[in-house]
Symmetry: C2
Subunit: 312 residues, 2 copies
């Protein structure tokens, strides 16, 4: 397609009027009020062989795990609790059933870990490539979902964990870099991400936590979504970004800049949130900057302008 993902999605939004009280396209999840006490959250992700994964590197177990993880991360990004998953699979004629069982082993492992059952979906045939769509339904107390649009000037900008590990792991895979023990940990972070569901739930109980989302495209891109939705700017101290020892070691070994991964790399699946000064989250977190009035973003300690990763 000639145009990018974002302009196509903008076009979609303009076609549909969303009933009052609901929230449609434009955040980690849609929000659908159910009764006076609860809201339903819905998110979906599609993964296509050759575009999102290569079957000769990722294992079926990892792929099954990751298919669920990326969606649970969207539920976490709103502060929701996952309720059930729906799996659509287009399976190549040539695919062995043993491979699909291992895929389901990974799918089941993460589902069990987060206590969320598979409730439905579709299974069909594909002429060649494997295509996977997972839709996850979640819930939260009415009005408690954390949106991208709620950041306020003077809020602290925070993340829930290390940035850049996953994308550096991908670099190791694609460029066939040395698979040291540190590099293998980064690869695991890429293939077996751990969505921050419990952390998102805890944060959503704190009134001082304002905007929140999961980091899927790199904070260089994802932070912009929060700033645009909230009509604010930010100053980020790049020296405050949490970097793992594995990332630092792998970058040192290969002459790479860890900040490139931490800011522009994708698929961290950590939480990015803003909170009023004085808020004390009961999870590990790192303050990386501050929300400012206006709309500009300043990366202190770096002369680059960071953008995120796009799947399109």
């Amino acid at each position: 397609m000639e145009q990018g993902e974002f302009s196509f999605i903008e076009g979609l939004k303009s076609r549909f009027s969303v009933p009052s009280g609901m929230m449609g396209i434009g955040d980690d999840c849609a929000i659908i009020p159910q009764c006076s006490s609860d809201d339903t959250l819905v998110t979906a992700d599609m993964l296509v062989e050759g575009s999102h994964f290569l079957l000769d590197d990722i294992t079926p177990y990892q792929l099954g795990w990751k298919s669920v993880a990326v969606n649970l991360s969207d539920i976490a990004g709103m502060g929701g609790k996952p309720v059930g998953t729906f799996l659509s699979l287009a399976i190549p004629y040539s695919m062995e059933s043993a491979w699909m069982e291992k895929f389901m082993d990974g799918y089941q492992a993460i589902s069990d870990r987060f206590g969320v059952p598979l409730l439905g979906g579709d299974t069909t045939a594909s002429p060649d490539r494997l295509c996977i769509n997972v839709t996850v339904m979640g819930s939260c107390p009415h009005g408690s979902a954390r949106k991208r649009s709620d950041a306020k000037p003077r809020d602290l900008v925070c993340v829930s964990g290390f940035l850049g590990d996953s994308s550096c792991g991908l670099k190791v895979i694609l460029d066939k870099l040395d698979r040291t023990s540190d590099a293998n940990i980064l690869i695991d972070r890429h293939y077996l991400p751990m969505p921050r569901v419990a952390e998102g739930l805890r944060l959503s109980r704190l009134e001082g936590v304002h905007a929140m989302m999961d980091i899927s495209d790199g904070i260089g891109s994802d932070l912009r979504h929060i700033l645009e939705a909230s009509g604010v700017g930010a100053t980020i101290d790049t020296s405050a970004l949490p970097l793992s020892s594995e990332l630092l070691s792998c970058c040192r070994d290969n002459g790479l800049d860890p900040l490139d991964f931490a800011l522009s790399g994708g698929e961290d699946y950590e939480l990015l949130f803003t909170m009023a000064p004085g808020t004390v989250p009961d999870i590990p977190y790192y303050v990386i900057g501050e929300i400012t009035p206006g709309s500009s973003i300043i990366w202190k300690g770096s002369d680059k302008d960071y953008h995120g990763f796009t799947h399109f």
Copy 2:
């Protein structure tokens, strides 16, 4: 994959325990109780280029329409009201944006017709084939969803409209038969199915309506799902099957047996339901047989044993 869709799905069911009160895999939709008054229904369908549709015959408008229609039909099959749709698209790099806009025209037309907004999804790139997944969320009063498992001996077996039109339309397309005006009506029934949402809602308000589902694989197959889930049998009078004049005319023109399409053809998207004798639905319907004790199915007026269409 060596094994068929059904055994793979049976394996999936055994992996996950579904929380009490919910219903997972095995009916038209999953059922998730929300509060004391309402249940949420969820269904998903995946369509892959080359397996479910060929881009050189179906128009983008028709494909957009049909992607929603097949899911609304599942909501209708439970007697639910659609609430919102979630569209995941893997779009080939080479796809023109004008084509996608026409796809969305069809998607929007049926969405507007049934008053159901697009609320989310995913848009991503595919190396070659177009892949579409639509998930639809619906709702119904708590406990009112009509399942496959509720047929009772002596129930009348009914359908909401003509059978076989869609699959005969597909035959015209695939075998390049004469596109008479009658044949074109059958092709429209194939490409622009009209889900029986209002009819399903009306039926679900009648206590005498027991089992219900939509007809997607042909009643030869779909009726078996009801019989197996309910632990009953049926006698079907094949002379009572509602056949359109267009189907009869097209079959006469081409030396085809209309019963083959009516019983084994797929994608009618009519409702198949059973009801206690004396129930008076306020929709057009046709009585085609009766539920019996036991588990056998007798096709009166035919010497064939009918099975449905499978996408696998």
